[in-house]
């Protein structure tokens, strides 16, 4: 057999913390066949061909830890699976889906590797995986490969499948604050936080954005009248029936005025800055031709601005600027636009560019602006002649620091009057650094769900942390959006422990969601009778807006095939690790490998959380150093070595002494209750069951439940929780 090809024999999407890392990854099992005998440096021209198509690989540090690290490995010789990992990462990066993490490990089968790469979107990552394989093979086989085409395809996938840039910036800001997020649909609806403490965003709308406020903001006339009632300057105006009335209205309002159709778009039929009776009457006829009612409004001099208000505070401001071209005596207006405006590197057609291209064919407003000055797109302005192309181009020039405090107060009031927590306020003023009243500026529109891009990628000036502002608006400084989560891993005893902890939390008054192998429970109501110790059921618990605390059971298989449903937990319990739980079909064929799987439960404990470990199992005790938070041991006897060491370090522990369950902090210990008072313990002959009870007590204590409540809970437990718990190997 002579197979020099990378076969992808299995692809697994790990949607949560897993054996590799905290973040979702795509795991691929690769069979590289005889390439096992051909590390990179043995394939002539491979290095050159690969670096030629992917020069960005030089940025990959790899294990070496510095720029060029991966290339060094490539030169020294590394295997195809590892190369594939880096190519996949690079392709994802080129497609605009940043992915730092990747890892490749050999298995006990020759030529078979497990590779994992950070996957922000399952489908895109899958496409990147196969593309990367094809690219590596073409470099090995010295065949052509169209990198640009595949990157474009991936980029298009990112654009259509991943979160939009505005939403992504909010989610990233949440991540920075360690607030977890869950995408709820294929669009931009995202849940931040878990259970009862979650909030929802949909682009720049939040769950505090009232539908009524959106109705108001979409009714310009109503918005204007509410704003005017509250003293916010708006362009005063009125509907008129005929040319004479237009002039009367103009005199009432004060000159100059704008005359426009009431429901016009793209500036058709709009005449601005009118001062004479003749002009106003002519403008009326022009507007009336559009077939709608005609509005006479105060002319507001100045530039358009967009001010972003979040939670009552101004967080960003951008200004629009007019676009002009200068005639050269030979070029047409259209050519001048292309050569003088569209050559600006900030202009482009995608969201990555802060400014749009000016396209006469697609923008009737430009055509109209030109025709007002007597030009067609094909006209040739004389040399030196200034031609206005756009009165207000993209509003993308950051002016946040210039906004006068009174202007900021005014736009904040406007958002409040409409009732929006996040609002994009459109304002026309000559100078944003002066109060509106003294310059005749006005607020012209209040928008719900405003775009954030102009503030994230301004054409000039500094980007504004609007995502952070929105997250801070949704979550107070001391709020993380989290709920207490207890995760339970181990080879057996998990289910009983889970149900016990859940019962204690329920007694504490929490609405508890439990996903365990007995089923899925909400508030002690059985929702699903099947085995629910899996990602999907855990996910349901996190989505449920009623859930105040979650208890999750995890077996090694679900951790290997799906990952955990949550990112971090308050309490991570490991009951024991023994060979009964090996998963040979996933190459977890010895206990050492199993420990690497189970450790995830300890890895995900929050810095202010607790790992609850069985002191009697040395393999479990071994996990203690991996915990970011506190470690609490439980054990049947007070003299277990790990337990005594723990107590010497002044930490907490739970054990049995003289027939009583003891809670200890360092050397201080206090009796919780005698075992004889616990029906579940009294009738049991199984020592495992006692361990489960102790584990549950420890977990409840770690979750912050008071000792009195734990005692009462233990004393009132019934046998109902026992049978499932006694089933072996859970």
């Amino acid at each position: 057999m002579n197979k020099k090809y990378i076969d992808i024999i299995n692809v697994i999407s790990l949607r949560g913390p897993n054996i590799w890392t905290y973040r979702p990854v795509l795991e691929a099992w690769l069979d590289i066949g005889d390439l096992e005998d051909f590390p990179s440096h043995t394939i002539p021209g491979f290095y050159e061909r690969l670096t030629a198509v992917l020069p960005g690989l030089i940025e990959h540090h790899c294990g070496v830890g510095e720029r060029g690290g991966f290339l060094q490995r490539l030169r020294e010789g590394t295997w195809a699976g590892h190369v594939l990992e880096h190519v996949m990462i690079e392709l994802q990066n080129l497609a605009g889906m940043q992915s730092g993490f990747g890892q490749t490990r050999s298995t006990s089968t020759r030529g078979v590797y497990k590779m994992a790469v950070r996957a922000r979107h399952e489908e895109v990552s899958k496409a990147a995986l196969y593309a990367a394989r094809d690219l590596v093979m073409s470099a090995i086989e010295d065949k052509p490969f169209d990198v640009a085409a595949i990157v474009k395809k991936l980029r298009d996938m990112v654009d259509s499948l991943c979160l939009g840039p505005s939403t992504a910036c909010i989610v990233d800001a949440a991540t920075d604050r360690r607030i977890p997020s869950i995408r709820l649909n294929e669009g931009n609806l995202v849940q931040l936080g878990y259970g009862v403490n979650q909030r929802r965003i949909w682009t720049a709308e939040t769950d505090r954005t009232p539908a009524i406020a959106e109705s108001i903001s979409s009714d310009k006339d109503l918005t204007k009248s509410l704003l005017a009632s509250c003293g916010v300057p708006v362009p005063e105006g009125c509907m008129v029936e005929n040319a004479e009335a237009a002039w009367e209205a103009a005199e009432d309002i004060g000159l100059p005025v704008v005359v426009k159709p009431s429901d016009g778009n793209h500036g058709r039929g709009v005449s601005t800055n009118l001062t004479t009776r003749e002009d106003i009457e002519a403008a009326f006829k022009l507007a009336a031709e559009e077939g709608s009612e005609v509005l006479v409004e105060r002319f507001i001099p100045g530039d358009e601005h967009r001010l972003l208000v979040v939670g009552g505070r101004l967080v960003a401001a951008a200004k629009g600027e007019a676009a002009w071209v200068t005639g050269d005596g030979t070029s047409t207006v259209e050519q001048l636009i292309d050569s003088q405006i569209n050559t600006d590197p900030r202009r482009g057609t995608t969201e990555d560019f802060p400014l749009n291209l000016v396209l006469i064919d697609e923008d009737p407003a430009v055509r109209l602006e030109l025709s007002r000055q007597g030009y067609e797109p094909g006209s040739v302005p004389e040399k030196g002649k200034q031609v206005l192309v756009q009165r207000n181009g993209n509003v993308a020039f950051d002016v946040t620091d210039k906004v006068h405090p009174e202007v900021a107060a005014m736009v904040s009031l406007a958002a409040r009057v409409v009732g929006l927590d996040i609002a994009g306020v459109d304002l026309v003023a000559e100078d944003i650094s002066r109060p509106l009243e003294e310059q005749g500026g006005a607020i012209v529109e209040v928008n719900a769900g405003p775009g954030l891009l102009m503030h994230l990628k301004p054409a000039s000036g500094e980007p504004r942390p609007v995502g952070r502002a929105i997250v801070n608006h949704l979550f107070a400084e001391n709020e993380s959006g989290r709920i207490p989560i207890v995760g339970i891993a181990g080879s057996h005893g998990k289910t009983m422990l889970a149900r016990l902890v859940a019962r204690l939390m329920h007694l504490h008054g929490w609405y508890v969601g439990v996903a365990c192998s007995d089923g899925l429970y909400f508030n002690e109501r059985l929702i699903d009778k099947s085995d629910c110790a899996n990602w999907k059921s855990g996910h349901r618990v996190l989505l449920n807006r009623a859930v105040e605390a979650g208890v999750f059971e995890h077996d090694a298989r679900s951790m290997l095939t799906e990952g955990l449903a949550y990112d971090r937990c308050k309490v991570g319990v490991v009951t024991n690790i023994n060979p009964s739980e090996l998963v040979p079909d996933f190459h977890i064929d010895d206990v050492e490998k199993l420990i690497k799987v189970i450790r995830t439960q300890v890895d995900v404990v929050l810095p202010d959380g607790v790992a609850v470990l069985n002191a009697a199992d040395p393999r479990v005790v071994e996990l203690a150093p991996l915990c970011d938070g506190e470690v609490m041991y439980f054990g049947l006897t007070p003299d277990l070595p790990a337990l005594t060491a723990q107590r010497a370090a002044n930490a907490r522990a739970v054990f049995i002494r003289d027939g009583q369950i003891m809670l200890a902090v360092g050397e201080d210990e206090s009796a919780l209750c005698p075992l004889s008072e616990i029906p579940l313990a009294a009738s049991s002959v199984w020592p495992d069951r006692l361990e489960n009870i102790l584990g549950a007590v420890a977990a409840a204590w770690a979750a912050g439940l008071p000792a009195d409540l734990i005692r009462t809970g233990l004393e009132t437990f019934d046998e109902e929780l026992a049978p499932a718990a006694d089933a072996p190997a859970r």
Partner: protein, 869 residues
């Protein structure tokens, strides 16, 4: 047959002015149309119009009007107009009861006031009433039925719909004020910072995201499923085979339908075999690329209304249908059903007629019928796939039947989606059992659900859903109001208003204030000009940053439109005195004026307080009209009104030596006048009165005494904070006082104050407003003539209808008997008059400038002072 009446040469009844009184007013608390009606001699008593009453009653038999009280007050045509306008509205179904007609001082001119519930309906009723009178006069025809239809249709068109209406009614029962923000269903409840909004059954807590979720049925189902709420499981498929695979997984009966469908096109329900599923997929995929296969839920459609975390109402809904009898066609069966008198055309009845329109025909077609088919006996023929009441469906109240577990699932569904008011659509055999036990499920949740099926179900009991919504928006003791103080009177209103606003703001409240010079929100002026009317008050109550409001309430607005609020916590009336602006708007006597100023007192909340000047008999008498308690103030505590009130242990505020004293029973609080700069240590008498009024108001609002004291101490009345209110300046060692006093009482108060100040020579600059009565203008200078050495008269900028020189001439007449004035000058222009006065000033002199164009004049004075340094 009656003889034709003789043709009258005289012109007939004429309506010269119509006003809508949109708030509590001179006549009543009701909204009303007020018209000025002039009747020629012959029409001042209908008894003198032969046959008129008979013709009138023939045209409008339901008309009611009172018998004449006595010979001196016969029933005029204006009275008939009144009764007709009220009666027409009442017959059209509007809930109106108040009307009144009064004669004015001018013979033959009447004020006719008729309550309305909708302004446009009230106006139309007036118009129709006038036509009715005319037709009865001229014996021409009047189509009563058509008139009532017009009124009824207009009313139905503009009044709040049943859902919104039920919520507003519930709010009113709780004393929560409301205001419509649009012609549609958007309503504001409460005021200022405590306002809330609704739009039909949507509140300002209804999240836009939740509404979007509810509109996406698949997303909704996924979220409900996550929360453990039973839903018809299923998923989107893209091929016929996949459809069958999913159907097999689901087991049993399924529904196959296009993802974006409407009117039930391409939907196959209750199918189970492979052949059926494949065929159904083919049909559904014609409508939409994405086809949904989901479990079929057998049973009836129920709508459960969840408000907050409670199930409030439940109804079983049935689409419009007829039952075959084997004899009649569908068309005939529909006609039979529609003959039911309970079925109407609009929202007014609990059932609506079934329409046999295109949608109905298409629905019939899918069942294999046409309108002319004769369905077999006992067969149910559906005429529409939805069960909306407005298209002929029926709703049967089943609220009391709902099993607690079913209710719990509905509440969980609403909360998972995040809707505070939610219509949950359930399909199951019966709501008496948990859904899980009968294979039922929740198929949809709806934002802004219609409430009519619960308010007026076709069968069963109506439910108080409006009350439930209001209870969910407002805590039990919360009425959404902010403290409102109304200030009225002839003089001192502006200063008193400012004082009260100042005290309240020192108490940490954000204040909205209106007055004759603008609207202020937290000291920022948001409107200029005379803002003492109802529109400005309403604007303040709309403002989201206002925690308390103080309204200077001038008579103009009260007369024109009524109050801008339904009631106030405190009404302050400073004084009436000899009056101001008399002669305008049929307010010819001080008594008439008092009636206008009294409106705020009449509309004090039962828990509120009227703060009244005991020393002014017209004001003191208002106590009788106050539904709440009364606090009297007066300098003299021995004034009989004060003494009596004090003896009863009630609240009084008076002056005792150098203190202002507030006393109630044994309680007493003294504030030294020395601590109140506004009074110049008690020297300025009228400011002491303003202070007492303000204390009374602050006390009524239970402001802490330390706060009251401290804020009186910090109240500054200079040209900036209180322009035109006794602004003191110093010019070359002379004292300048600028004030906007412009009636005899104000001028007397100024003279009293100025007399306490020492000065060598005294001069005064004055003009008069043209709209005052001659005697008032004369009286002003009569007072000044005894107190000033020099009087400079100038022409006002605004002559308000007087001829040139007329006002100055009247002012000069007033000086004829002057005891002190020895130097009188006449000047054109306010600034030149000021210049003239300043030019003569020497150190130690005093000059009172009665400014007219307040801001301009003050700016000018400041400029002149700055020039001399």
């Amino acid at each position: 047959m009656l003889d034709q009446p003789e043709q009258e040469e005289e012109p007939s009844m004429e309506i010269s002015r119509i006003r809508a009184l949109r708030g509590p007013n001179l006549w009543s608390r009701h909204t009303a149309i007020e018209a000025i009606v002039s009747c020629p001699e012959s029409e001042r008593s209908i008894a003198s119009l032969p046959g008129f009453e008979g013709r009138l009653r023939a045209r409008f038999p339901e008309i009611e009007f009172l018998q004449p009280a006595d010979e001196a007050h016969p029933i005029s045509l204006a009275h008939v107009l009144e009764s007709a306008a009220l009666g027409l509205q009442a017959q059209a179904g509007c809930k109106v009861s108040f009307s009144r007609t009064v004669s004015t001082v001018e013979t033959g001119i009447y004020q006719v006031v008729v309550e309305y519930t909708e302004e446009a309906v009230g106006r139309l009723a007036f118009e129709l009433a006038e036509q009715l009178c005319q037709s009865a006069l001229e014996d021409t025809s009047f189509d009563l039925a058509a008139a009532l239809v017009r009124l009824r249709e207009l009313d139905e068109d503009i009044r709040l719909g049943p859902s919104t209406g039920s919520i507003v009614e519930a709010a009113l029962k709780r004393g929560i004020p409301y205001r419509r923000l649009t012609e549609g269903s958007m309503v504001q409840f409460g005021w200022g910072s405590r306002q809330r909004r609704i739009q039909a059954a949507e509140t300002d807590s209804t999240s836009a995201i939740s509404e979007s979720i509810a509109q996406d049925k698949e997303l909704t189902k996924a979220l409900l499923d996550a929360a453990g709420v039973p839903v018809p499981k299923g998923r989107v498929v893209s091929s016929a085979e996949e459809a069958w695979t999913v159907a097999s997984e689901l087991g049993g009966r399924v529904v196959v339908k296009p993802r974006d469908g409407n009117q039930g096109k391409g939907v196959a329900v209750n199918i189970s075999t492979r052949e059926e599923v494949l065929a159904a997929y083919a049909a559904a995929s014609q409508i939409s690329d994405e086809v949904i296969v989901e479990r079929y839920l057998p049973g009836h459609d129920f709508r459960l209304l969840v408000v907050g975390n409670k199930l409030i109402a439940a109804a079983r809904r049935a689409p419009p249908q007829v039952i075959g009898d084997g004899k009649h066609t569908v068309r005939e069966l529909v006609e039979q059903v529609n003959r039911d008198p309970m079925r109407g055309d609009g929202h007014a009845t609990s059932l609506t007629k079934i329409r046999l329109d295109a949608i109905a025909l298409a629905t019939l077609d899918r069942q294999g019928y046409t309108a002319d088919s004769v369905p077999a006996k006992g067969v149910h023929v559906i005429l529409r796939n939805n069960a909306n009441l407005s298209t002929g469906g029926t709703a049967t109240d089943v609220t009391d039947d709902v099993h607690p577990e079913v209710a719990a699932r509905a509440v969980e569904a609403a909360q998972m989606v995040g809707l505070d008011i939610c219509g949950v659509d359930v399909v199951c055999e019966s709501v008496l059992q948990p859904l899980e036990e009968q294979g039922g499920g929740i198929v949809e949740v709806n934002a802004a659900p219609g409430l009519r099926m619960h308010l007026q179900p076709s069968y069963g009991k109506g439910r108080a859903v409006g009350d439930a919504i209001i209870s969910n928006m407002y805590a039990d003791n919360d009425d959404g109001r902010i403290p409102v103080v109304a200030v009225s009177g002839t003089n001192g209103k502006t200063t008193t208003t400012r004082l009260i606003a100042h005290i309240l703001s020192k108490n940490g409240l954000r204040i909205g204030m209106t007055g004759t010079d603008g609207v202020y929100i937290q000291n920022r002026r948001i409107d200029t000009g005379d803002c003492s009317g109802p529109r400005s008050a309403r604007n303040v109550l709309l403002h989201p940053d206002v925690d308390a409001a103080v309204f200077e309430t001038a008579r103009g607005g009260v007369l024109r439109e009524g109050l801008g609020f339904d009631r106030c916590d405190v009404a302050v009336v400073t004084n009436i005195g000899v009056g101001d602006h008399l002669g305008l708007n049929f307010i010819s006597t001080v008594e008439d004026l008092a009636v206008v100023k009294r409106v705020i007192v009449q509309n004090v909340a039962p828990t509120g307080t009227a703060v009244l000047n005991a020393a002014d008999p017209m004001v003191a008498k208002m106590a009788k009209s106050c539904p709440g308690s009364v606090t009297y103030f007066a300098v003299d505590r021995h004034h009989p009104v004060m003494a009596t009130h004090r003896a009863k242990g009630r609240r009084v505020v008076y002056r005792d030596g150098n203190d202002v004293v507030a006393s109630e029973g044994r309680f007493q609080c003294r504030i030294p006048l020395a601590e109140i700069p506004l009074t110049h240590g008690g020297v300025i008498g009228f400011q002491v009165e303003n202070i007492m009024a303000a204390i009374g108001a602050a006390w009524a609002l239970e402001i802490d005494w330390n706060t009251i004291r401290a804020s009186l101490n910090t109240f500054i009345s200079d040209a900036k904070s209180a322009p035109g209110r006794f602004n003191l300046f110093s010019y070359r060692g002379a004292t300048l006082i600028a004030d906007y006093g412009h009636n005899p009482d104000a001028i007397q108060a100024l003279v009293n104050a100025v007399n306490t100040m020492s000065a060598k020579r005294r001069s005064v600059v004055i003009s008069g407003a043209g709209d005052r009565r001659d005697e008032d203008l004369r009286q002003q200078t009569e007072i000044l003539g005894d107190a000033f050495d020099q009087v400079i008269l100038y022409e006002d900028a605004c002559q308000r209808g007087r001829a040139d020189g007329e006002v100055v001439a009247l002012l000069r007449e007033g000086l004829a008997k002057a005891r002190r004035t020895n130097d009188i000058r006449e000047i054109r222009g306010e600034f030149i008059a000021i210049d003239t006065a300043l030019a003569d000033l020497k150190e130690g002199d005093l000059c009172l400038i009665l400014v007219d164009q307040v801001e301009k004049a003050l700016a000018y004075i400041e400029k002149r002072i700055a020039e001399v340094g």
